[in-house]
């Protein structure tokens, strides 16, 4: 696996697909032999970003979520994108505990968790255009195998 291995996926923005997205990305990175902890972190990032696209990005509207994952060596690049309402003030929403939807019992911890589970994060968003999150994470323990079978 010297050349890049790439995977793209797009899917309906419904909550049933949160688990699908987590499992798909986890299965894609499995050949890198991530530890259980790394795998949990990756699934959590995907879950946070996809959930945000569904709840905040599209809300009541139906829409499509775009996911791209690329592996080169021990480096994973992950992009999760929606074409929803977008974010007006990115600095504001990235603050721990900030949520625009306390009525939905959101914890406001999504961005904080995503930031702490990756090596790099980039947020691109434009009002009424949508939001694009780009993550870089290094799978630092190619030796220790976590084996999952689904």
């Amino acid at each position: 696996m010297n050349a890049a291995n790439e995977m793209s996926s797009s899917f309906t923005a419904v909550s049933e697909n949160e688990a699908f997205a987590r499992v798909a990305v986890a299965a894609f990175v499995l050949p890198l032999n991530p530890t259980m902890e790394e795998l949990t972190e990756i699934k959590t990032i995907v879950s946070e970003a996809v959930t945000n696209a569904i709840i905040h990005g599209y809300g009541e509207r139906r829409g499509i979520i775009y996911l791209h994952c690329k592996i080169i060596g021990d480096r994973m690049e992950l992009v999760i994108e929606d074409h929803g309402v977008g974010i007006e003030d990115v600095d504001l929403v990235r603050q721990p505990l900030y949520t625009s939807r306390p009525d939905l019992e959101r914890s406001g911890m999504g961005f904080t968790i995503m930031e702490s589970f990756v090596d790099e994060i980039e947020v691109d968003s434009a009002v009424n255009r949508g939001t694009r999150l780009r993550f870089v994470k290094y799978i630092r323990t190619p030796q220790s195998a976590a084996r999952y079978e689904v």
Binding site: S15, E16, E18, A19, R22, S107
Partner: protein
């Protein structure tokens, strides 16, 4: 997500055991199930047993915090039991572990909660 609610010690302590993946998709059903138990009760003591939870994200934090506030506002007590290492990490990040009592497992939580409220 499966949610099972047991009444222990003549109904004075409720144990709600969650099993499966506690994400946004599961959150709504968990919320409804738990709130049915809490409705109209004052001074309830609830143990949230998370030992069967195989995945949780910030949507789970929201559900837990929401129940905590309700119970606190009605003069009750809530504790968390059996959180895995990765769930523990999320609880810590959110500051929840500072306000909610945490126990390694359900049995310990039951004993401790009985002491607390005596």
């Amino acid at each position: 997500m499966r949610v099972q609610v047991d009444r222990r010690h003549r109904g004075s302590i409720l144990v709600a055991s969650l099993a499966g993946e506690l994400d946004h998709h599961a959150a709504q059903a968990v919320r409804i199930t738990l709130d049915q138990e809490l409705a109209g009760q004052h001074g309830i003591r609830l143990i949230l047993d998370l030992s069967g939870v195989t995945f949780m994200d910030s949507s789970g934090l929201g559900v837990i915090l929401g129940r905590y506030k309700k119970i606190r506002d009605s003069g009750g007590e809530m504790a968390i039991a059996g959180a895995s290492r990765s769930i523990d990490r999320l609880l810590e990040m959110s500051g929840l572990h500072k306000i909610v009592r945490m126990y390694p497992n359900c049995e310990v939580a039951v004993v401790a909660l009985k002491e607390v409220v005596k």
